[in-house]
């Protein structure tokens, strides 16, 4: 069984392997090696027999081929209704075919499967809500990605991402030390303006354990400072763990189920070690999906729940505004037309549509819904890891058109987007299409309108 040095069936578990992959700029050698990677059909078929059970088997079998799912997929719409983008076709011609051939497929076929699984589906699950049988192609593509990963047919960045989680328990090479340093630095940077500001690390029995997206310490640490300031203003008793602080999971996008387990276990260990009342994750959609919704299953927790109650950042914001823990200055409410990007991962797949609306009612005077919205909103175009995969940049950019048109139709000038993936996709969209919009997480917006209680103002303030 021929395997490459970089492109092979083995997950990345050591720093050396990871550095070798990273040194291969844009995966040139990696993808070249992929052309010679053998498919281990026996292993593929064995995996399918073990893991393709009634739910998926039935979906593949009873699909009526009625095409009702076609218009539900933003890729189908963005690609001028190309029939090859019909969700049912995409899954039947890949997973369906592998099953029909009992795993006996070749290299070219697997590369086609990989391209389909990552560049024609963001696992947004929208199609599942339009199929009369409830056939959810997003779930099936998630499964298919797992098969691809086990065979080594996985985009270069996804292999790296999975390796990062396996080695650093974070999607980027940030160690526990780096993380704690960043927290300390952000605290020092801001304590003059916010006397008493703290980022408590590893405090036991706090009310809130806060977890983040590794991009925050890596690329925009001010997000951590903003979170700290808002918790500070709300008078929360909170902490961050020194280990188990990363909520995201590129392993989920990569289909690396063992890596998924390792990642969430680290967070659950922090919960058990520090015994907080609850965990709050940052403004990220897939991180919440991974750590709060799917994670318990990877970790084998029979209740299907995280060791302590875990909520999304927007749930905390809505609660803080509702109960008056955070008070906003009504005169500072956003005046311009504003819309909200419903993230697939925590709106469609976690029932938080009303929570988002509640927040908008507190912060915006002219809130405009996209059409469709809430559970039925379209994917931003960057979900499922797609934002980060160079090989599919072109396809990603075409997919952005649906969201672009939805935003333009609202007439909004600002898109509130409390999800890292959506935020990135909308930023890239503006870069490509120049439609003249702004986009923002919630934290900076809240900080501009929050009323600072007198006792928390700097001494020489005003």
């Amino acid at each position: 069984m021929a395997e490459g040095i970089l492109c092979n069936r083995k997950p990345v578990n050591t720093k050396e392997d990871l550095l070798a992959l990273l040194a291969d700029k844009s995966g040139k050698q990696y993808y070249e090696e992929m052309n010679h990677l053998h498919v281990d059909s026996a292993a593929l078929w064995a995996t399918i027999q073990k893991s393709l059970k009634s739910r998926l088997r039935t979906w593949l079998e009873i699909c009526a081929h009625c095409g009702l799912c076609a218009d539900s997929c933003f890729y189908y719409l963005a690609n001028n209704k190309d029939p090859k983008q019909v969700p049912s076709y995409k899954i039947q011609s890949t997973l369906g075919e592998i099953v029909r051939r009992k795993g006996d497929v070749d290299n070219a076929f697997m590369q086609m499967v990989m391209d389909t699984a990552w560049s024609k589906c963001t696992c947004c699950n929208r199609c599942g809500s339009f199929c009369p049988f409830g056939i959810d192609m997003g779930v099936m593509f998630g499964y298919l990605r797992g098969l691809c990963f086990s065979q080594g047919f996985v985009p270069w960045e996804m292999k790296i991402g999975s390796g990062m989680h396996r080695i650093y328990r974070a999607q980027m090479d940030i160690t526990s030390e780096d993380w704690v340093d960043t927290c300390t630095w952000m605290c020092e940077e801001n304590e003059e303006d916010w006397p008493g500001l703290e980022i408590p690390v590893d405090k036991e029995n706090a009310d809130i354990l806060y977890t983040v997206n590794a991009r925050e310490p890596k690329h925009y640490p001010e997000d951590i400072a903003q979170a700290a300031i808002l918790f500070h203003l709300a008078g929360e008793n909170w902490t961050v763990p020194s280990v188990g602080w990363e909520e995201t999971s590129l392993t989920m996008f990569a289909g690396d189920w063992e890596g998924c387990r390792l990642q969430v276990q680290e967070v659950y260990n922090a919960m058990e070690r520090l015994k907080p009342k609850r965990m709050i994750g940052t403004e990220c959609g897939h991180a919440y999906r991974a750590t709060v919704l799917e994670g318990p299953y990877w970790a084998g927790l029979k209740t299907g729940k995280t060791p302590v109650e875990s909520i999304h950042y927007i749930e905390w914001v809505a609660e803080a505004l509702r109960t008056g823990k955070l008070k906003l200055d009504p005169s500072k409410k956003l005046k311009m037309p504003v819309t909200y990007q419903d993230s697939c991962n925590y709106i469609r797949n976690a029932g938080l549509a009303d929570t988002a609306r509640e927040i908008m009612s507190y912060i915006a005077e002219d809130f405009r819904e996209m059409t469709p919205c809430r559970e039925h909103n379209f994917c931003c175009g960057g979900g499922g890891g797609l934002n980060g995969i160079g090989r599919y940049r072109e396809q990603r950019n075409v997919g952005l058109k649906v969201k672009r048109d939805q935003i333009i139709a609202t007439g909004a000038k600002l898109v509130v987007s409390p999800c890292h993936n959506c935020w990135d996709a909308i930023r890239d969209m503006e870069e490509i299409f120049h439609i003249g919009i702004k986009w923002s997480f919630l934290k900076p917006i809240l900080l501009k309108m929050v009323i600072v209680p007198d006792h928390l103002k700097p001494e020489n303030g005003e």
Partner: protein, 225 residues
């Protein structure tokens, strides 16, 4: 011949149909896996049941879901077709007379003209379904010969029954063909895509539990199908 196809053969096909769908249901449930499907079917049961019921209920109502509403033409086609498929054979007077004679039971009956109309609806819908499959590129790309075969198996009893009822020449032949087609359909249900007759409910219940338990059902108002 008539005695045979309405006697032992009828028993046999009903038997295969019944046992077949029971086996499909049992296998489906046995093949559910909380860890692989990532749904705790046996924990948070009340949320699961609520999710399952909502998921089935809204989809059984014409225009009851966003999916139906965005495809009004297809929705009408689908409901007319399926109403005809299910109601006509169950409530046809002739079937019930036969039932009474053979097994001593009978159901409500509908007037013959209504049954006739439903039959015509089924046949016309089937034709439109085929035309739709040819006309729309997004459906054409999905369509296989197997789909057409399944459609033929489902509509053949209606076509032959219609011909027999209207006393075309060769009544005996059409009657027996009709009965055989009906029996083929019954037997096919557990073994072909027609298994969706029962698996529709299983599959919808499953996704309903998924949303009811894990994907937001414990928060919010339940998924707005």
């Amino acid at each position: 011949m008539y005695q045979f196809v309405t006697g032992p053969l009828a028993w046999l096909s009903f038997g295969i149909f019944l046992v077949g769908i029971i086996v499909r249901v049992v296998l489906y449930i046995k093949g559910l896996d909380w860890k692989l499907d990532r749904v705790t079917y046996t924990v948070n049961v009340s949320y699961g049941i609520k999710g399952a019921i909502r998921s089935i209920f809204f989809w059984l109502i014409p225009f009851g879901t966003r999916g139906w509403r965005t495809n009004p033409g297809f929705t009408i086609l689908f409901f007319i077709f399926h109403t005809g498929l299910l109601f006509t054979p169950l409530f046809l007077a002739a079937h019930n007379i036969l039932l009474k004679e053979r097994w001593g039971i009978s159901l409500w009956t509908i007037p013959d003209f209504a049954a006739d109309l439903l039959t015509i609806f089924v046949i016309v819908s089937a034709v439109i379904i085929i035309l739709r499959r040819i006309a729309l590129p997004e459906v054409r790309i999905l369509t296989t010969a197997y789909d057409l075969l399944v459609l033929l198996i489902a509509t053949a009893p209606f076509i032959t029954g219609f011909i027999a009822y209207h006393q075309a020449p060769g009544y005996q032949f059409w009657l027996i063909t009709h009965i055989l087609c009906g029996e083929i359909m019954l037997v096919s249900i557990p073994f072909t895509k027609l298994s969706h007759f029962i698996l529709f409910f299983m599959s919808r219940a499953q996704i309903g539990m998924d949303f009811g338990i894990k994907r937001g059902g414990m928060k919010g108002k339940g998924f707005a199908w």
